[in-house]
Symmetry: C2
Subunit: 361 residues, 2 copies
DNA sequence: TTGTACGCGTTATCAC
DNA sequence: GTGATAACGCGTACAA
């Protein structure tokens, strides 16, 4: 069992022990061919004896790049997960085992994008740096930006100007945010088209006439989905609502309109939800009030997260190519840093996934 | 749309523009109270104008810590995912949409541990650095170790001495590896007990007498599971095998013994698989040969991954508190760095999860 | 082939 | 309250 080193071992320590200069030590690791085999062995041995591990910070400083790519999430984690006080280990374990892996919390779409990001970064031999912060004033994202060669971000409470700020120094790509005239790279999907497909299915296949949209327009992509919803209804000659039927905010009083409609027995034929997570919440609410899906009302989601395949009924939804989005982000970041140009925005295709919630079951 | 900065803006640039010294710039960000409000404004304005983002490397170098925690995976990713050549974006997207989110690949147990790690790191305001590498000779892990304040790793092709090496410099915790007399921190579950519970269930509840264990003993935890298996059989007065019934290696010829048993119609009553992934593969193989589960043979897994809840039949298995393991790792790492002592190894509890594959359906 | 010396961008310890 | 200045650990021209 090796002794831990008291203080960080540096090139100087290794050099001294090996009886060479620090340059030789550095060369031994970076350009082994430049040093005579015997010297090399000497250095490697000394390094091993001393438990030498080169400082990433120092290397990053010296050659200007950290070889790391950053991925930043704002408040994607549910409040109960993030701001929870430090619980005892026992409590954590019991809580987790009791919950037995709640699919409603993980994996969410963010996690799928992240996985693609990780895989591609790994393929390119780069490490990934994960950051997250809650408040929009938080400078966490700036901190992260200072440590990576490129940064990918999820939309959220992200102060726009803050992003523009960091975007001046390192390439930045933002997910699920429609193309804009800013300095950032955008990766989105064809939200309008996807929702149109969904509505066509509900109308053509199931003959629904009264179709409602639920979702919070604040999020950038949701706006596009609602626009697609409106366009689809118009194309079918159906009345086009000015606003979503209901919106969700994370309060006790959420989904008020829907609750009222349930109570009054005045539900639309179908509920087009802006996200799978919302759709699942809606399913819960409906079940809770004895409303049957899809018999009494059809429901659709958006994203294609795993939880939607475990619900009852399973969710009819639109699948986004999340992993590919993550991979693409890495490519944009590395290519850009290497001088290769990329379009300022990518719009990827999606695919409708038929589940039981639309009535196809 | 702001101009990107040609070269990295530094404290010097900001200082010059604000007409102050670099010390004042630094203070403005780190100890705002120490500088006069007017000066502060001056500096902040200059920083904003110049798109200043402090260098993480320089900061890390200067104060000795990066505030980042590392998580390293060896070859957890499936070959097809990692060493794939650079495919075109279109190919990637189509491939992904056709696959529609293959739960067999994600999320695996590694991902669940990672999530816990991320959540706790976030709670503590630390960023996470992800690394991975394939070969055991690879120095990637050392690279990562040099950039973080603490490192957590998954077992794998990890050269033991390599880990000991990095362990001398920064605290290291290793998952799913039984306690050893090394310098590392270990986090495991009660593998023996868990498998014992499983076997008890198969024997007591379902009356199975001929129970077989499938798994590759190479992985550290698997050995403990097999030991628990042997102990359980002994306790029931049943014959105790010296070795696993079959092992899996990632070759075409894998699961040979099982294949033969299927062909000869000489299957055991129950197949206790060392992991869920193996159990799912076994389910596939059995189905492929027309063997019904659990009617013809019972199958159990280990881990409690999500894919096991989506299979048909669903998997009877043992759930590990993955997220808690990840969280615990972060606590060990940060506490250790702060001078607080932690036990060199933790053994967490598990829970049996009854699915349909054991016959309880 | 190896050694010397400087720069990378911050932080922090001093004086002022 | 603010300004010089010395680390921090490594990479690399340049010199030897």
């Amino acid at each position: 069992m090796l002794e831990p080193v008291a203080q960080r071992t540096t090139v100087y320590d290794v050099a001294e022990r090996a009886g060479v200069s620090i340059a030789t030590v550095s060369y031994t690791f970076r350009q082994p061919d430049r040093v005579r085999p015997e010297t090399r062995e000497l250095v490697l041995r000394a390094a091993r004896d001393l438990g030498y591990v080169p400082s990433g910070s120092a290397r990053g400083l010296a050659n200007g790049r950290s070889q790391a790519l950053g991925l930043y999430a704002f408040d994607m984690f549910l409040p109960s997960d993030l701001s929870a006080p430090r619980r005892s280990l026992d409590e954590l374990v019991q809580w987790e085992l009791d919950g037995l892996g709640n699919v409603r919390r993980f994996p969410l779409y963010v996690d799928e994008i992240q996985r693609g990001f990780e895989l591609e970064a790994r393929r390119l031999g780069r490490s990934v740096m994960l950051g997250s912060g809650a408040s929009r004033d938080s400078l966490d994202s700036i901190d992260l930006a200072g440590s990576v060669d490129g940064l990918a971000i999820f939309p959220g409470a992200a102060a726009r100007d803050l992003l523009e700020h960091v975007g001046r120094g390192v390439p930045v790509v933002i997910f699920s945010s429609p193309p804009m005239n800013d300095a950032l790279h955008h990766i989105t999907v064809d939200n309008e088209g996807a929702v149109r497909d969904l509505v066509d299915h509900l109308v053509d296949r199931h003959g629904h006439r009264s179709v409602a949209f639920l979702g919070e327009l604040a999020a950038p992509d949701i706006g596009a989905r609602f626009a697609g919803f409106q366009a689809a209804l118009a194309a079918h000659g159906l009345p086009v609502p000015e606003e979503p039927f209901d919106t969700t905010v994370l309060t006790e009083d959420s989904l008020r309109t829907l609750r009222d409609a349930i109570t009054s027995g005045d539900l639309p034929d179908a509920l087009v939800c802006a996200t799978d997570q919302l759709a699942l919440t809606v399913l819960d609410l409906l079940a809770q009030h004895g409303v049957r899906v899809p018999d009494d009302v059809a429901v659709t989601g958006f994203d294609g997260i795993i939880a939607g395949r475990l619900s009852d009924p399973t969710l009819t939804t639109v699948r986004q190519p999340f992993a590919s989005m993550g991979r693409l982000a890495v490519r944009i970041l590395t290519d850009t840093a290497a001088g290769l140009a990329h379009p300022k925005s990518y719009v990827l295709p999606t695919r409708v996934v038929i589940g039981g919630s639309c009535g196809c079951g």
